[in-house]
Protein backbone atom coordinates (compact mmCIF):
# COMPACT_ATOMS: atom_id res chain seq x y z
CA UNK A 1 0.00 0.00 0.00
CA UNK A 2 1.65 3.19 -1.18
CA UNK A 3 1.87 5.94 1.30
CA UNK A 4 3.17 9.20 2.60
CA UNK A 5 4.32 9.04 6.21
CA UNK A 6 4.63 12.06 8.46
CA UNK A 7 6.81 11.45 11.45
CA UNK A 8 4.66 13.08 14.10
CA UNK A 9 0.89 13.29 14.39
CA UNK A 10 0.93 15.76 17.28
CA UNK A 11 3.66 18.10 18.48
CA UNK A 12 3.73 20.75 21.17
CA UNK A 13 6.60 23.22 21.04
CA UNK A 14 7.52 26.46 22.71
CA UNK A 15 7.96 29.82 21.03
CA UNK A 16 11.45 30.16 19.63
CA UNK A 17 12.16 26.45 19.35
CA UNK A 18 13.41 24.94 16.12
CA UNK A 19 10.92 22.44 14.75
CA UNK A 20 11.47 19.69 12.21
CA UNK A 21 8.58 18.02 10.44
CA UNK A 22 9.59 14.97 8.47
CA UNK A 23 7.82 13.37 5.55
CA UNK A 24 8.70 10.19 3.69
CA UNK A 25 7.05 8.72 0.60
CA UNK A 26 7.54 5.28 -0.90
CA UNK A 27 6.16 5.91 -4.38
CA UNK A 28 9.32 7.24 -6.05
CA UNK A 29 7.48 10.52 -6.72
CA UNK A 30 9.44 13.46 -8.05
CA UNK A 31 7.27 16.09 -6.42
CA UNK A 32 6.71 16.69 -2.74
CA UNK A 33 4.74 19.42 -1.01
CA UNK A 34 4.17 21.00 2.36
CA UNK A 35 0.84 22.65 3.09
CA UNK A 36 -0.66 24.14 6.17
CA UNK A 37 -4.37 23.99 6.84
CA UNK A 38 -6.22 26.46 9.02
CA UNK A 39 -9.96 26.86 9.62
CA UNK A 40 -11.45 29.33 7.19
CA UNK A 41 -8.24 29.59 5.17
CA UNK A 42 -8.13 26.18 3.56
CA UNK A 43 -4.91 24.63 2.30
CA UNK A 44 -2.02 26.98 1.67
CA UNK A 45 1.15 25.84 -0.03
CA UNK A 46 4.32 26.57 1.93
CA UNK A 47 7.01 24.98 -0.26
CA UNK A 48 7.31 22.27 -2.82
CA UNK A 49 10.16 20.31 -4.34
CA UNK A 50 10.31 18.84 -7.83
CA UNK A 51 13.63 17.03 -7.46
CA UNK A 52 16.33 16.26 -4.96
CA UNK A 53 17.85 19.47 -3.60
CA UNK A 54 15.38 21.54 -5.63
CA UNK A 55 12.70 23.63 -4.01
CA UNK A 56 10.27 26.37 -4.83
CA UNK A 57 8.39 28.75 -2.62
CA UNK A 58 4.68 28.38 -2.36
CA UNK A 59 2.23 31.03 -1.24
CA UNK A 60 3.34 31.39 2.38
CA UNK A 61 7.06 30.49 2.72
CA UNK A 62 7.89 33.12 5.34
CA UNK A 63 9.13 31.60 8.57
CA UNK A 64 9.74 28.19 6.99
CA UNK A 65 12.51 26.39 5.18
CA UNK A 66 12.70 22.95 3.60
CA UNK A 67 15.24 20.28 2.85
CA UNK A 68 15.20 17.51 0.30
CA UNK A 69 18.46 15.56 0.42
CA UNK A 70 16.90 12.29 -0.75
CA UNK A 71 14.09 11.70 -3.20
CA UNK A 72 11.85 10.03 -0.66
CA UNK A 73 12.22 12.55 2.15
CA UNK A 74 11.05 16.15 2.42
CA UNK A 75 11.53 18.06 5.65
CA UNK A 76 9.85 21.24 6.79
CA UNK A 77 11.80 23.38 9.24
CA UNK A 78 10.54 26.14 11.46
CA UNK A 79 13.71 27.96 12.46
CA UNK A 80 12.07 29.78 15.37
CA UNK A 81 8.53 28.67 16.02
CA UNK A 82 5.91 31.30 16.72
CA UNK A 83 2.37 30.98 17.98
CA UNK A 84 0.95 31.94 14.57
CA UNK A 85 2.51 28.77 13.19
CA UNK A 86 0.15 26.65 15.24
CA UNK A 87 -1.60 24.68 12.53
CA UNK A 88 -2.17 21.35 10.81
CA UNK A 89 0.71 20.60 8.45
CA UNK A 90 0.11 18.30 5.53
CA UNK A 91 2.75 16.67 3.39
CA UNK A 92 1.93 15.34 -0.06
CA UNK A 93 3.69 13.80 -3.01
CA UNK A 94 2.89 13.46 -6.70
CA UNK A 95 4.42 12.08 -9.86
CA UNK A 96 4.42 14.07 -13.07
CA UNK A 97 6.07 17.25 -14.21
CA UNK A 98 4.85 20.82 -14.38
CA UNK A 99 2.67 20.04 -17.38
CA UNK A 100 1.29 16.74 -16.20
CA UNK A 101 -1.71 16.12 -13.99
CA UNK A 102 -0.49 16.15 -10.44
CA UNK A 103 -2.64 13.93 -8.29
CA UNK A 104 -1.53 14.34 -4.71
CA UNK A 105 -1.13 11.60 -2.14
CA UNK A 106 -1.28 13.08 1.33
CA UNK A 107 0.11 12.03 4.66
CA UNK A 108 -2.09 11.90 7.74
CA UNK A 109 -1.02 15.35 8.89
CA UNK A 110 0.98 16.78 11.78
CA UNK A 111 -0.87 19.00 14.22
CA UNK A 112 1.59 21.49 15.68
CA UNK A 113 0.82 23.62 18.70
CA UNK A 114 3.25 26.41 19.57
CA UNK A 115 2.88 27.75 23.11
Amino acid sequence: DVKVTQSSRYLVKRTGEKVFLECVQDMDHENMFWYRQDPGLGLRLIYFSYDVKMKEKGDIPEGYSVSREKKERFSLILESASTNQTSMYLCASASGGSSGANVLTFGAGSRLTVL
Binding site: V4, N31, F33, G40, L41, G42, L43, L45, F48, Y50, E56, G58, D59, M88, L90, A92, A94, G96, G97, S98, S99, G100, A101, N102, V103, L104, T105, F106, G107, A108, G109, R111
Partner: protein, 113 residues
Amino acid sequence: SQQGEEDPQALSIQEGENATMNCSYKTSINNLQWYRQNSGRGLVHLILIRSNEREKHSGRLRVTLDTSKKSSSLLITASRAADTASYFCATATLGGNNRKLIWGLGTSLAVNP
Protein backbone atom coordinates in the same frame (compact mmCIF):
# COMPACT_ATOMS: atom_id res chain seq x y z
CA SER B 1 -4.35 32.44 -3.14
CA GLN B 2 -7.70 30.67 -3.09
CA GLN B 3 -9.48 30.34 -6.38
CA GLY B 4 -11.93 27.54 -5.83
CA GLU B 5 -15.05 28.24 -3.88
CA GLU B 6 -17.20 25.35 -2.82
CA ASP B 7 -20.82 25.67 -1.92
CA PRO B 8 -22.54 24.95 0.23
CA GLN B 9 -20.06 25.38 3.07
CA ALA B 10 -21.92 22.73 5.02
CA LEU B 11 -24.44 20.09 4.05
CA SER B 12 -26.40 17.69 6.23
CA ILE B 13 -28.39 14.82 4.72
CA GLN B 14 -29.85 11.45 5.64
CA GLU B 15 -28.25 8.17 4.69
CA GLY B 16 -29.41 7.05 1.27
CA GLU B 17 -29.92 10.58 -0.05
CA ASN B 18 -27.78 12.14 -2.74
CA ALA B 19 -25.33 14.89 -1.91
CA THR B 20 -24.34 17.58 -4.38
CA MET B 21 -21.60 20.10 -3.82
CA ASN B 22 -20.32 22.71 -6.18
CA CYS B 23 -17.02 24.36 -6.96
CA SER B 24 -16.48 27.59 -8.84
CA TYR B 25 -13.16 28.90 -10.04
CA LYS B 26 -11.89 32.06 -11.66
CA THR B 27 -9.28 31.29 -14.31
CA SER B 28 -9.04 28.78 -17.15
CA ILE B 29 -7.86 25.39 -16.02
CA ASN B 30 -6.02 22.29 -17.19
CA ASN B 31 -7.87 20.04 -14.81
CA LEU B 32 -9.95 20.02 -11.65
CA GLN B 33 -9.67 17.51 -8.85
CA TRP B 34 -11.85 16.57 -5.90
CA TYR B 35 -10.46 15.37 -2.59
CA ARG B 36 -12.04 14.10 0.62
CA GLN B 37 -10.77 14.73 4.12
CA ASN B 38 -11.97 12.84 7.14
CA SER B 39 -11.83 14.76 10.39
CA GLY B 40 -8.27 15.47 11.49
CA ARG B 41 -6.70 13.42 8.72
CA GLY B 42 -4.99 13.99 5.41
CA LEU B 43 -6.79 14.39 2.12
CA VAL B 44 -7.61 11.55 -0.23
CA HIS B 45 -7.88 12.03 -3.98
CA LEU B 46 -11.29 11.12 -5.38
CA ILE B 47 -11.40 12.06 -9.04
CA LEU B 48 -9.76 14.24 -11.67
CA ILE B 49 -11.55 15.77 -14.62
CA ARG B 50 -9.68 17.42 -17.46
CA SER B 51 -10.75 20.66 -19.09
CA ASN B 52 -11.90 18.86 -22.25
CA GLU B 53 -14.13 16.48 -20.31
CA ARG B 54 -17.68 17.26 -19.25
CA GLU B 55 -18.53 14.37 -16.96
CA LYS B 56 -16.77 11.61 -15.15
CA HIS B 57 -17.89 8.75 -12.93
CA SER B 58 -16.19 6.71 -10.26
CA GLY B 59 -18.37 4.32 -8.29
CA ARG B 60 -21.01 6.42 -6.51
CA LEU B 61 -19.31 9.66 -7.52
CA ARG B 62 -20.23 11.75 -10.51
CA VAL B 63 -18.31 14.89 -11.40
CA THR B 64 -19.35 17.41 -13.99
CA LEU B 65 -17.37 20.30 -15.38
CA ASP B 66 -18.75 23.37 -17.14
CA THR B 67 -15.81 25.42 -18.34
CA SER B 68 -18.08 28.14 -19.75
CA LYS B 69 -19.40 28.77 -16.24
CA LYS B 70 -16.11 27.92 -14.58
CA SER B 71 -17.81 25.49 -12.27
CA SER B 72 -17.84 21.84 -11.30
CA SER B 73 -20.15 19.71 -9.23
CA LEU B 74 -19.58 16.55 -7.25
CA LEU B 75 -22.54 14.25 -6.76
CA ILE B 76 -22.42 11.43 -4.25
CA THR B 77 -25.30 9.04 -4.78
CA ALA B 78 -26.90 6.85 -2.11
CA SER B 79 -24.80 8.43 0.62
CA ARG B 80 -23.54 6.49 3.62
CA ALA B 81 -22.50 7.57 7.09
CA ALA B 82 -18.90 6.83 6.04
CA ASP B 83 -19.17 9.62 3.45
CA THR B 84 -19.18 12.15 6.30
CA ALA B 85 -16.13 14.29 5.57
CA SER B 86 -15.01 17.57 4.07
CA TYR B 87 -14.74 17.74 0.31
CA PHE B 88 -12.32 20.04 -1.51
CA CYS B 89 -11.87 20.99 -5.11
CA ALA B 90 -8.47 21.91 -6.49
CA THR B 91 -7.64 23.37 -9.87
CA ALA B 92 -4.53 23.41 -12.03
CA THR B 93 -4.44 26.71 -13.90
CA LEU B 94 -4.08 26.66 -17.69
CA GLY B 95 -0.59 27.77 -18.58
CA GLY B 96 0.43 27.63 -14.97
CA ASN B 97 2.50 25.19 -13.02
CA ASN B 98 0.41 22.08 -12.49
CA ARG B 99 2.30 21.47 -9.32
CA LYS B 100 0.69 24.52 -7.73
CA LEU B 101 -2.91 23.53 -7.30
CA ILE B 102 -5.38 26.16 -6.16
CA TRP B 103 -7.69 24.95 -3.43
CA GLY B 104 -11.20 25.79 -2.36
CA LEU B 105 -12.22 26.07 1.27
CA GLY B 106 -14.27 22.89 1.21
CA THR B 107 -17.77 21.62 1.83
CA SER B 108 -18.41 19.86 5.12
CA LEU B 109 -20.80 16.94 4.56
CA ALA B 110 -22.62 15.20 7.39
CA VAL B 111 -24.52 12.02 6.54
CA ASN B 112 -26.87 11.06 9.33
CA PRO B 113 -27.70 7.40 9.88
